[in-house]
Symmetry: C2
Subunit: 227 residues, 2 copies
């Protein structure tokens, strides 16, 4: 029951799992803790929610502080509230995950606090502070799951991208090879991306560039996109 009294309150934080593609791998941004507890350990970017700040804005602020990026795909994951998760006392954390494009200019150094920041491939994570390993594991599960029935994948790519790049993105995250023709047919049928008139050349034949259709519904209701 609501009451206006003020009991002692748990502290409230946000933590953000920031995903990107780097060196053809899915990576997560971690920062090295300067203070106790877990001083020296790696942890997710996160911090306290201030009194007037919406939760999503707090998550965006963490993203901005650690990467310098102002806009990204951001989604609430889960709220972690085990009373023992922080040795300093009761701290409840609302976890988010963010996808940032592989071409974004990230200053992964010198966030608001002088702590070190680094990208870690998802399969080479160190042991993290608090319950952050669990949070990342859950974030990864959600991301994979989401790829299967939506088209969020392109949020990890530059604004314009080729179908080959998109397919590689899916393969990296899902960890399996996909059939080129089936992939193209389905991703286009979903109607979430559209061809541009531009091409990208490099090795081999130039590839048509595609982009997100801002008017599209990002979720494909009907059925899973991939096996």
């Amino acid at each position: 029951m609501m009451s206006a009294s003020s009991h002692p309150r748990p502290a409230l934080t946000v933590d953000v799992v920031i995903f990107t593609l780097k060196s053809s791998r899915l990576q997560v941004l971690l920062i090295q803790r300067a203070r106790q507890p877990f001083a020296g350990d790696w942890a997710l970017p996160g911090g306290f929610v201030s009194m007037e700040e919406p939760l999503e804005e707090a998550a965006m602020r963490e993203l901005l502080e650690e990467t310098g990026i102002r806009e990204a795909y951001l989604e609430q994951l889960y709220t972690y509230g085990d009373p023992d998760r922080d040795p300093r006392g009761r701290v409840v954390s609302v976890a988010y995950y963010a996808l940032i494009p592989s071409d974004a200019q990230v200053r992964s150094q010198g966030g608001s606090d002088a702590s070190q920041a680094r990208w870690f491939p998802i399969d080479e994570l160190p042991k993290l502070a608090f319950d952050h390993n669990d949070i990342i594991a859950y974030g990864l599960r959600r991301l994979r799951y989401k790829l299967e029935y939506s088209a969020v994948g392109f949020q990890l790519l530059p604004e314009d991208f080729t179908l080959g790049e998109l397919q590689r993105t899916y393969e990296i995250i899902l960890g399996e090879k996909l059939d080129k023709r089936n992939f193209r047919r389905r991703i286009l049928q979903a109607g979430i991306i559209e061809p541009t008139h531009r091409f990208k050349s490099g090795e081999g034949r130039p590839a048509r560039l595609y982009r997100y259709r801002p008017d599209a519904v990002a979720e494909v209701k009907a059925r899973r996109l991939f096996p």
Copy 2:
């Protein structure tokens, strides 16, 4: 960034969308607020999270206080943190939903506070306090979605149930008729429920009773169960 200082903290509550089947309809338990703000309006059961209490336990406690029920399917929904959602100040709420069996003995009167409690069919909700209409709408969406690829439906039925009852449950919640033979084939194929040796008689031919297989994985990974 974490710091051990203590800024002013948002208040933290849990709210619980309690679903049940009554009179062949999906219903939600609401309580009438005795106090300001929104005095007299209906609202979700909910309350402050105490310092040592896990979130899920706080949600269970609310469920117990309002219904007298100790065990039920319970799942975290989403965390609502708009700074303006409560006129008294900053209140962040972790929302849960619960499914309680249609045969459970609910004392829907005289919870811990003397406020009135009542079941409302999901399509006859009054205008609720705070953002509680949004929370219920989201809870319903999640429940429907979950029915399509898992078998949570039976959580709303007695321990033993017939396939006819289960199918009616699905039809009530999804709001569409399902084909009997296809329903049975798929729900059994999913391997989440198993036949007992008992039967239930009433009108017409007695029906075999089924029950949940406690050892089963509740989620059917592969594919949606229903269209």
